[in-house]
C-alpha cells in the first residue's frame, strides 16, 4: 500500500502536500481510489471558494459510488486540476500525481494537526475487518 512519507492525511482519505509557495495541494489517497474503483467523473470546487475544515468541496464518482471529498484544512481554493475533467482515470493511475485542487491555507500550522503516513496506515488497517 503506497502511503508517501512526505504527505499529510485525513481520516476521510485525502492527502495534502505543502508546497514551497505556501499553498497546499489536495488529492485522494491510493487506498481511496482502490476502494472506489474506476473513476468516471470528478467535480472540483470553484477557484476562489473559501473552505472550512471538513467542508464537502469536491465529488469523485466511480463506477461503484460517488464519494464526497472534504477540505482537509481551512483555506481559499487557488487552483483546480484541469486534467481531471476529461481524464478522471488519472486518479486511478497515480493518486498522488492526480491532485484535485490547491488551496491557500488560512493557517499553515493546521497541516501539522493532520495524520502522518504511519497514523494514516494505522487507520486503514483498523478499518479492515
Amino acid at each position: 500500500m503506497s502511503i508517501p512519507n512526505n504527505l499529510r492525511y485525513t481520516k476521510s482519505h485525502e492527502w495534502v502536500r505543502l508546497e514551497g509557495d505556501g499553498t497546499a495541494t489536495v488529492g485522494i489517497t491510493q487506498h481511496a481510489q482502490e476502494l472506489l474503483g474506476d473513476m468516471v467523473f470528478v467535480e472540483t470546487p470553484a477557484v476562489g471558494r473559501k473552505l472550512k475544515q471538513s467542508e464537502e468541496c469536491a465529488v469523485v464518482e466511480s463506477v461503484k459510488a460517488a464519494a464526497d471529498v472534504y477540505a482537509p484544512i481551512a483555506g481559499e481554493v487557488t487552483a483546480v486540476n484541469p486534467e481531471l475533467e476529461s481524464a478522471p482515470e488519472k486518479i486511478n493511475q497515480d493518486a498522488y500525481e492526480a491532485w484535485l485542487f490547491k488551496l491557500k491555507p488560512d493557517n499553515a500550522s493546521d497541516l501539522d494537526k493532520l495524520l502522518d503516513a504511519t497514523a494514516y496506515q494505522n487507520i486503514i488497517e483498523s478499518e479492515d475487518h
Partner: protein
C-alpha cells in the same frame, strides 16, 4: 437491435393505429409539429417478435433465482395481479362519486387497518407512490410536528451509516442537516456516538431496521429512548419489513413514523422502475399531519378524508390515491396470507437467509458479520479473494450470470469492501438455494485455478462484459437514424 432498426418506410401496425384521424384544434400554430415524429414503422408481427425476443433475453424472477439484496425480489402470486385487474377495478374512475366506488374504498380502508396492525401504528395513509416519497413525507411530518409546537431550533436528523442511501437525501430535501453516526464492529449503531449526537438540535433519527447490513439493531429500544428523551422523533425505514412481518412492530419499538414498501414486501414486482407504493404509518402525535386522501368509514359507508377533515395535513402527494393498482395487489396479498401467513413470510425469509449464509460459509465464503444472525439478507466479503486471486466482487457477480442466476447486489453497503449483499427471500426452495451454493463454490474454485475465466465473465449472456466506465462517461441514450 432496437425497434427503430426494424423500421421500413410505409410499414404499418394497424392494431395500434387510431381508428379515425383526430384533428388538432385550439393549439397555437407555433406549437404544432412541422414534421411527423420519428416513430418506428413496423408490422404487427415485427413488433410482436421484437418484444417477445427481448422478453426471452430478460432476466426475471419468473425465470431465475434473483437474490438481489436490499430489493426483496420475491415471487408475487398471480392471484394478486389477476384480482387487482378485475374490470370493476380497472374501469373505476378516480373521481367517481364515493357512492359508486364503495367496494374499492372498502379494500383501501381494510388495507389501512391491516397495515396499522402489522406496524403497530395509530394511522396509515396509502398515498405515497414510491419509497422515496414515503420517506420524504415521513420527515416532512416530523418537521410539521416540531413547527406546530414552535420548536424550531431542531435542525438535525441523525442517520446511521448503515441506513439506506435515500435516508440522508430525504433529510436534506426536508431542510435538515444530516448527522451521520457510525456502526460498531458487530454491525449495530454505535450507542456512544448516538448519545453524543443527540441534543436540543435533534429533530429525529432515521433508522433502517433491519439495516442494510442485514442485521436487526440489538439496541433499538434504547435508541428509541435516547432520541425521545432529547425531544426528537423516530423514523423507521420499512424497506426491509419482509424480515419482521407480523413478528415485531415498529410501533412497539417506539417509532413515530414508518414507510412500508408495498413493492417489496406486498406483492408488486420490484426492480423494473415502478410503479411503487409506500404507505406511511404514524403514531398518535403525527395523526394531524398525515397526507390526504385517507379512507374512513362512518355508519357502514366509506368516504375520503380530505384537507377539510385534517386541516394540518401536509397535503397531497399525487393526483389522487397514489398507485391504486399496487394498493389493490397488496390488499389481496394480505388477505390471502392472513395474520398466520405473514408470520410464515418472516420466518421463511429469515430461515432462507440464514441457511444460505451458513452454507456459503461452509464452502469457503467469508461472511462480513459472522457472529450475527441474518435478518432476511446477509453480506459476503470477497476482500481476501481479491487480494489472493485478483477476482473481485463484480467479477463473481458477472460469473453468476453464466451460471443462470441474477447477481446479488454488489458494492453496497459501502461500509464493507468487495461485498455481495444476498437476499434469497421466502419464496425460494431448498433445492434452489443448494444449487446456488454449488454454483458459488464452483466460482470460488475457478477464481483460484483459472481467474481469467471469472474476470472476463459473462461468457454466455446476450451481451458480454460491458465497458462500465465508458458507459458512464459517454452516455448514449438517444437513437438517431443512421
Amino acid at each position: 437491435m432496437l425497434i427503430f432498426e426494424h423500421s421500413r418506410s410505409g410499414r404499418r401496425n394497424y392494431s395500434q393505429s387510431p381508428l379515425t384521424p383526430t384533428p388538432t384544434t385550439g393549439i397555437p400554430e407555433k406549437l404544432l409539429r412541422k414534421a411527423p415524429p420519428l416513430l418506428p414503422e413496423v408490422s404487427e408481427m415485427d413488433a410482436v417478435r421484437h418484444y417477445t425476443r427481448l422478453s426471452q433475453k430478460n432476466f426475471s424472477i419468473d425465470t431465475q433465482f434473483y437474490p438481489l439484496g436490499s430489493c426483496t425480489m420475491k415471487y408475487n402470486p398471480r392471484a394478486c395481479n389477476s384480482l387487482a385487474m378485475l374490470p370493476q377495478f380497472l374501469a373505476r374512475h378516480p373521481r367517481a362519486p364515493e357512492s359508486t366506488g364503495q367496494g374499492f374504498l372498502a379494500c383501501m380502508y381494510e388495507l389501512q387497518e391491516i397495515l396499522k396492525d402489522v406496524t403497530g401504528m395509530a394511522g396509515v395513509s396509502l398515498t405515497p407512490m414510491a419509497g422515496a416519497q414515503g420517506e420524504l413525507i415521513g420527515i416532512a411530518m416530523i418537521r410539521a410536528y416540531h413547527e406546530s409546537r414552535g420548536d424550531t431550533a431542531r435542525t438535525e436528523i441523525i442517520v446511521p451509516d448503515a441506513a439506506h442511501g435515500t435516508n440522508p437525501a430525504t433529510a436534506v430535501m426536508c431542510g435538515y442537516k444530516v448527522v451521520e453516526i457510525a456502526t460498531d464492529k458487530e454491525g449495530d449503531v454505535d450507542m456512544d456516538a448516538l448519545r453524543a449526537a443527540v441534543g436540543p438540535q435533534t429533530a429525529g433519527l432515521m433508522l433502517t431496521n433491519p439495516s442494510t447490513l442485514g442485521v436487526f439493531e440489538k439496541n433499538v429500544a434504547e435508541m428509541s429512548k435516547v432520541v425521545h428523551q432529547a425531544g426528537g422523533l423516530l423514523y423507521y425505514d420499512g424497506a426491509n419489513l419482509n424480515a419482521i412481518l407480523g413478528k415485531v412492530k415498529p410501533g412497539d419499538m417506539g417509532f413515530d413514523v414508518i414507510h412500508i414498501n408495498l413493492h417489496k414486501t406486498f406483492s408488486t414486482p420490484h426492480g423494473g422502475g415502478g410503479p411503487g407504493s409506500a404507505p406511511v404509518g404514524v403514531a398518535e402525535r403525527l395523526l394531524p399531519f398525515m397526507p390526504v386522501p385517507i379512507v374512513t368509514m362512518e355508519q357502514g359507508k366509506y368516504r375520503w378524508l380530505t384537507e377539510k377533515d385534517i386541516p394540518q395535513s401536509i397535503g397531497r402527494l399525487s393526483a389522487h390515491m397514489g398507485n391504486a393498482g399496487v394498493l389493490l395487489r397488496a390488499y389481496i396479498y394480505v388477505r390471502l396470507l392472513g395474520a398466520e401467513g405473514m408470520h410464515r413470510v418472516a420466518e421463511f425469509a429469515a430461515l432462507n437467509a440464514n441457511y444460505l449464509m451458513a452454507e456459503l460459509s461452509k464452502v469457503g465464503f467469508e461472511i462480513a458479520y459472522p457472529t450475527r444472525r441474518a435478518s432476511h439478507e446477509f453480506i459476503v466479503t470477497l476482500k481476501d479473494l481479491k487480494e489472493k486471486t485478483g477476482v473481485n466482487a463484480m467479477n463473481v457477480a458477472k460469473r453468476l450470470l453464466d451460471k443462470g442466476y441474477h447477481a446479488p447486489t454488489t458494492y453496497f453497503p459501502l461500509l464493507v469492501p468487495e461485498c455481495l449483499l444476498i437476499e434469497p427471500a421466502e419464496t425460494e426452495s431448498k433445492e434452489t438455494l443448494d444449487a446456488f451454493v454449488a454454483s458459488m463454490k464452483e466460482i470460488l474454485e475457478e477464481a483460484r485455478t483459472q481467474p481469467e475465466l471469472v474476470k472476463n465473465a459473462p461468457h454466455t449472456t446476450p451481451v458480454r462484459k460491458l465497458d462500465d466506465v465508458r458507459a458512464a462517461r459517454e452516455l448514449d441514450l438517444v437513437w438517431k437514424p443512421a
